[in-house]
């Protein structure tokens, strides 16, 4: 019984963590090209989920097609946002860019509210409702999809950043924009590309989350804040870190929820990621897999 309980916690931690990892990846992509934190990440998730939902419910588009259209739309949205908001801010300090993403979050939320209202819209059942059993542990199919997505994205993005010219250009741009420009790297294109990719990755996350929760509403955006410790724990510039961080936080939350919550009367699950985060950062100041800051005179 107790072993099953542990197994349940572990497996649930991993699968829930995979969703965190997925969302965190979106953060990392933006960070890797512009050293900025995108605080509108949660809203990006929402946009993806709502668009897909809208296509399926209002226009009766089959799910796969809706998914593809959502991807295209998100890509476009990424580009539009880059054009209108980020590009004019090219020379500004990073903190201003972060603030702008906060403004962006407001705008996106408001637009979604205007178009889709504030009600929770039920998500069509795109995955079979029956869970699959891993050993004794039932797991929702949505989570399995998210595990797969994470695995695919991890390899694809890592390879992209490491081996492709565009990946190199992104990293160079994050390091120094002016120098990147002098190499002939189009900083604008790099930004457009990274926002494009980030928006698409987020849309995948949003759709999966919507499907898992069964409904989409404004509270989906909270995921953005929730995933921050994951990104930091893994290291802000590491895709693998985001994945590792996601899984660790997922596990940690579940283990603490399972074993500590009953002792102190709940709520530990919410703070534990942060406590762990601070402790780990004291040992590894740039997260688990993040690249160390270069301080050298």
């Amino acid at each position: 019984m107790d072993f099953t309980f542990l197994m349940q916690l572990l497996i649930n931690g991993l699968v829930v963590g995979s969703i965190y990892a997925l969302v965190a990846t979106g953060f990392v992509i933006i960070f890797k090209s512009s050293s900025a934190l995108n605080l509108a990440q949660g809203e990006f998730l929402m946009v993806g989920a709502y668009i897909c939902l809208y296509l399926v419910l209002q226009h009766k588009v089959p799910f796969i097609a809706a998914f593809v259209i959502t991807m295209l739309f998100s890509a476009l949205l990424g580009i539009v946002i880059e054009r209108t908001t980020l590009r004019p801010l090219l020379g500004s300090p990073v903190i201003s860019v972060i603030m702008a993403t906060l403004g962006l979050a407001s705008v996106l939320r408001a637009l979604l509210q205007i178009f889709f209202g504030v009600d929770t819209i039920p998500f069509p059942e795109i995955f079979p409702p029956e869970p699959v059993h891993i050993g004794p542990v039932p797991v929702s199919i949505g989570y399995l999809y998210s595990l797969c997505c994470v695995a695919v994205l991890l390899t694809a993005l890592t390879a992209f950043f490491k081996y492709t010219k565009s990946g190199l250009a992104m990293r160079a741009t994050a390091s120094s924009r002016q120098t990147a420009l002098s190499m002939g790297i189009s900083v604008k294109k790099v930004f457009a590309m990274s926002w494009c990719i980030a928006a698409m990755v987020s849309a995948i996350g949003g759709i999966l989350l919507g499907a898992i929760r069964g409904g989409v509403d404004m509270s989906l955006a909270n995921m953005g804040l929730k995933v921050l410790p994951v990104v930091i724990l893994g290291g802000m510039d590491s895709i693998a870190g985001a994945v590792l961080g996601g899984l660790i936080i997922g596990l940690l939350e579940n283990l603490c929820g399972g074993y500590l919550d009953p002792l102190v009367g709940g709520g530990v699950k919410e703070v534990v990621p942060y406590i762990a985060l601070v402790l780990i950062l004291m040992v590894r100041p740039s997260g688990l897999l993040g690249s160390r800051r270069i301080e050298r005179m």
Binding site: V16, M218, K226
Partner: protein, 374 residues
């Protein structure tokens, strides 16, 4: 102008509770329009000044001050627990009746909060009704039923828990566990449910709003739990089966207002107004709840006006003179008195069957004096 009565309305249309705030506002507004078209307050028109405060307490406080000083309203239709708590002393001082859509029991004791009102059985009375139901429903001989409370860690969540535990003890039910969920923004309640399973709870009461309740129910279904779930009057809504799908089947819950479209005498005007004003919106019992609130204080305004006391204090008195005021079955008949602001102690139990809310029975909880404010 002298022929209007001003009422301030604090609503949440963009904040954390917007999805219930919006139909509630529409209900209140349609009811006001309806009343104005049907004689108003003895010929005077009600002017509802509605403000969206985005569920942010400081904005509510500021809006309140503007209502009182600039707009000179006679009463206020408030909303959540944050604004109600923050303003409870102020409204007493200013003598402004203040209705809220939160059902926390400690707002129904006029000795402490003489100007606060709400309409329907308090959260605590809903939990008591649940416990009575459990007592009756549990068939295994020689064992005490075990119940668990699942609630978020905030004022709303905690509000009925103490009352529930006391009453459970009183009638011989074991409360085996409390499971605390985050206030908002979780998508997984597995650990809480696993813990509950470990304790072997037979019944669980979820004190939460519908979308979070749905997530808990879905996880429970995934884990294959045998526990019987109960929801409060913000969880048991028409939306539950849509969000939780199969997981909602067989789930019980309390309602203080009838679901939209229920065949009761008071419903016709509501469906008519709805067809006229929002033909495209789908509506739910929160819309009905908005109506019931407005109709109730509309009656209060009418009595106060008849008594030539159309001011805060007069409206309070008028409300406190209501005895079994019937709204055509939309809500339990309303009774307020100067010593007791419990409009009713009766809850109606519903169950989800085939994706619909089906009424099971009424449960009346005794109106005990010592339960006032608890």
């Amino acid at each position: 102008a002298a022929d209007t009565v001003k009422v301030g309305g604090l609503f949440d249309l963009t904040g954390a509770t917007a999805e219930v705030g919006k139909p509630f506002l529409e209900g209140v507004r349609d009811a006001v329009t309806w009343m104005n078209n049907n004689g108003g307050v003895n010929g005077k028109k009600i002017e509802l000044i509605s403000v969206d405060y985005g569920y942010k307490t400081p904005e509510a406080v500021a809006a309140y001050k503007k209502f009182v000083e600039q707009d000179k309203v006679v009463m206020i239709e408030g909303w959540g627990s944050g604004d109600t708590e923050a303003l409870k002393d102020q409204v007493t001082k200013d003598r402004i009746p203040y209705f809220s859509a939160g059902f926390t029991a400690h707002m129904n004791n006029p000795a402490k909060t003489p100007y606060n009102f709400f309409l329907g059985a308090s959260y605590s009375d809903q939990v008591r009704a649940f416990l009575q139901f459990v007592k009756k429903d549990f068939k295994e001989k020689g064992k005490k039923p075990k119940v668990c409370f699942i609630y978020p860690n905030n004022g709303f969540g905690k509000s009925p828990i103490e009352a529930g535990k006391l009453y459970a003890k009183e009638i011989g039910i074991d409360v085996v566990d409390d499971q605390i969920t985050p206030p908002t923004g979780f998508q997984d309640a597995t650990t809480q449910l696993l813990n509950m399973q470990k304790q072997g709870a037979d019944y669980a009461f979820i004190q939460n709003t519908v979308k979070w309740s749905a997530i808990i129910l879905k996880d429970a279904k995934k884990l294959g739990l045998k526990t019987k779930f109960f929801l409060n009057n913000y969880g048991m809504t028409e939306q539950l089966p849509e969000l939780a799908k199969e997981a909602a089947e067989g789930v019980y819950g309390m309602a203080t207002t009838v679901p939209y479209g229920t065949n009761v005498p008071g419903m016709k005007k509501i469906t008519d107004m709805h067809a006229k004003n929002h033909p495209k919106d789908s509506h739910n019992l929160f819309y009905v709840r908005g109506w019931t609130y407005a109709l109730t204080w509309g009656e209060g305004l009418r009595i106060a006006d008849k008594n030539k006391q159309l001011n805060g204090e007069g409206v309070k008195k008028a409300l406190e003179s209501m005895n079994n005021f019937d709204l055509g079955g939309l809500v339990q008949p309303v009774t307020y008195s100067g010593a007791d602001h419990r409009s009713s102690t009766k809850s109606v139990v519903y169950v989800i069957k085939g994706g619909k809310l089906v009424k099971v029975e009424d449960i009346d909880v005794p109106r005990k004096k010592e339960w006032l404010g608890l």
